[in-house]
Symmetry: D2
Subunit: 246 residues, 4 copies
């Protein structure tokens, strides 16, 4: 366990966020950020009980002040530690409605959660990642969780897709701007239902075994992205169950 670096996961609820925090906690102290503290408490305890180090902070990434405050807390709680990896996993706003039933507020909510949150998170983390470039073992990494709606607009998904497309655009822009400065920015298109308590009763892919995505498998791929050599960065991956239609 490196004591010089930490990782931060925004959107650390059950599923990808929790699994990523656990995976990265094997190497770094981790900070879990969610709006609702109930969503990080169990994971924080689990990591600390297992001999790792985790702290949880309640904040809303789509709100600049809330995120400012979160990073002030981090600076106090983890003094002197540098940022090795930042994972933006805030759940997409999935306001699934026919277009004409949506309001301008729905649009703003979707764009706020899906895209402005990443904008704010990157504003806070990119300067910290830049500081780590000369000293970290692995290239400092910003990983962004996307979804099918990141590359496909469709019926019922108009504002969700607008936000997820925008999220992906930010990711590409950051990769092209900060890759040459040594930061690895990667975007993952997660195309399938994740196997979490909330989805236990969903029947997907005709109920096939492993037809839902294991969150720890996503986390393992994220760790793989983090540890890529800077001569061989991956900017985008897709992740889906073997039985998923695509």
């Amino acid at each position: 366990m490196s004591s010089k670096f930490f990782a931060v996961v925004a959107g650390a609820g059950p599923g990808t966020g929790r699994a990523t925090a656990i995976r990265f906690s094997k190497a770094y102290p981790v900070v879990l950020i969610t709006r609702n503290p109930e969503n990080f408490q169990g994971t924080v305890a689990e990591i600390n009980n297992a001999g790792g180090k985790a702290i949880g902070i309640s904040a809303d990434a789509s709100d600049v002040k809330s995120l400012d405050s979160a990073f002030e807390t981090i600076a106090k709680e983890l003094p002197g530690l540098k940022l090795a990896a930042a994972i933006f996993n805030v759940g997409g706003n999935l306001n699934r409605k026919p277009f004409l039933e949506l309001t301008a507020d729905d649009f703003d909510a979707a764009l706020g959660a899906n895209a402005r949150g990443l904008f704010n998170f990157a504003q806070k983390t990119v300067p910290l990642l830049l500081e780590s470039v000369p000293i970290s073992e692995h290239p400092p990494t910003l990983i962004i969780t996307g979804a099918t709606a990141s590359i496909r607009g469709s019926y019922l998904w108009s504002v969700a897709a607008a936000g997820m497309f925008a999220r992906r655009a930010l990711g590409q822009s950051l990769a092209r701007e900060f890759g040459p400065k040594g930061i690895h920015v990667a975007h993952a298109i997660v195309d399938g239902v994740i196997d979490i308590p909330r989805t236990t009763h969903y029947t997907v892919n005709n109920g096939a075994e492993d037809g839902k995505i294991r969150a720890d498998a996503i986390a393992e791929s994220y760790w793989g992205l983090h540890t890529q050599h800077r001569s061989a960065f991956t900017q985008e991956i897709d992740i889906r169950p073997y039985v998923e239609k695509f």
Copy 2:
């Protein structure tokens, strides 16, 4: 000239908007919407002097109330006319800055202009286009102007691309939702500098003849999209000068 239908162009400044208004005015009365009336006055006069019919309305598409008011004006000025074509051509917000010099306000401005404006415009025009489906000669059409930044995020273009990706997502979603109901939704990726007074002194493509896009050529392609048979809709086209690198 049909007297039963009209067309509306949002973002009717010099360039694509003006040329599209002129092209569609050969078939329909046209409504030009821009924030600054100076941007439509010349074109409105030109169309009316040429024997067509045009009205200009000052409104901001990113503001719901402003757009509501504009469509109330349209209903009064063109009583009984149905909507044949709606063109969203509002200029992309191109807040070109290094990422770390941008603020959350810059993000909101870019998303507002590039994406929320289309959301609002579609909320107003899709119901009108639906009314025209059973009666119009050509399938009622919503055409959306995009740009290179609609499909590529890059250095200096992060928030502009976020907004343009979101615009494209809305266009895809609308096409998939309303195509089966008879509305033709098309998105054009305009990849190059348009030849307008403001760009006269730009040197692009090494100064090659026709190295800037003629706005009337874009307008002709938009007319081609509008007149496609419903069995053969195009959802997306690219448009660029023969000498443009891509």
Copy 3:
């Protein structure tokens, strides 16, 4: 009718080829090339009876010698005429089988029909199109018919998609090489079933009216591509029925 130029359509069977030949015959003498003369005879007669000029040549585009001979015939039959437009519409080889039932011969057949045919056709037509650049009214044009399999490999479509992807790659490469020299190279992704005698009894899109693509609608879009100004070339369009899922 221009008497200085002609158009050539390879793959001029019923459907897109026939309709394109008829559409372009309004402006140019047209040459129809198919392997089986039965596939062009009716269309040739129809055009000539309607006051246009058409000739049919039996040739196999995937065979260099066969195509050489065809263009020698053209030079004799239409002496002095320059080439304004070349349309490659040779039907995709759709050897739809599970992968393990395919043989290397199936692979070669699919690549030959779907890609080598275009390679050969472009070798013959690009030099002729280059000669027309300085003198033709519209930029000399090479239009290539693609399909869903041009952008998506899938079960049963492996070798068909391999050939159609290759066809699209050639189109992109030709556009980037010869666009700056004044030739307009465009690729159309035709995504749906075309309404021809052979498909009359197919039920597609739940039998919706206009649920199959009208070939004359494709031809009209091809004519629109041909007449685009060189400052505003489209490289790729998609074409599908309003009710098609995509």
Copy 4:
């Protein structure tokens, strides 16, 4: 080291092939296939000297009989072993010429090397991979090396891109057909110059440190793909140096 399974690398010359063979030899006996035995001899010796097990076979993947013979040799040399991973890394045919200087033979050579080789290799390996599905630790894997030309046709790259697009189409088709049967088919777009003896004197990315791709970094990502859980397969990744423009 599992003694029940082996891996095979076609195109095992210096660079990605060699590095992949070395990486996979930590877990499996490996078979290296190249046309020229000089290209595998050093690597085979290196692996065997390091305590691994490797055999080299001279064969041409674009020739069915040659590949048949190679797999007969494998069956004799590694009796009873099942196939865990097959990597197709045959170097793209890069017949870089202006289009009008190419011949039909150039086309056939490019398609043969870039696409027919994979067709043949998959015909041989997919049945073997299917046998391993029920028993292997990691999902049996077919990894295909692609390049920038897999997704972009351009000047000088017409036939190379045609072949690489076709290769990618086969990969997508195989993934969609055999993913649900438990085989992981992944395609890697390697976008940059690989750091091998032949490229030592190339100046790329302005001579930046790590501006060429380390082959062992590619191999590590391939190993990551091989070990993904079947609920979270990646179908396509890109790989490029941090300083590469894209």
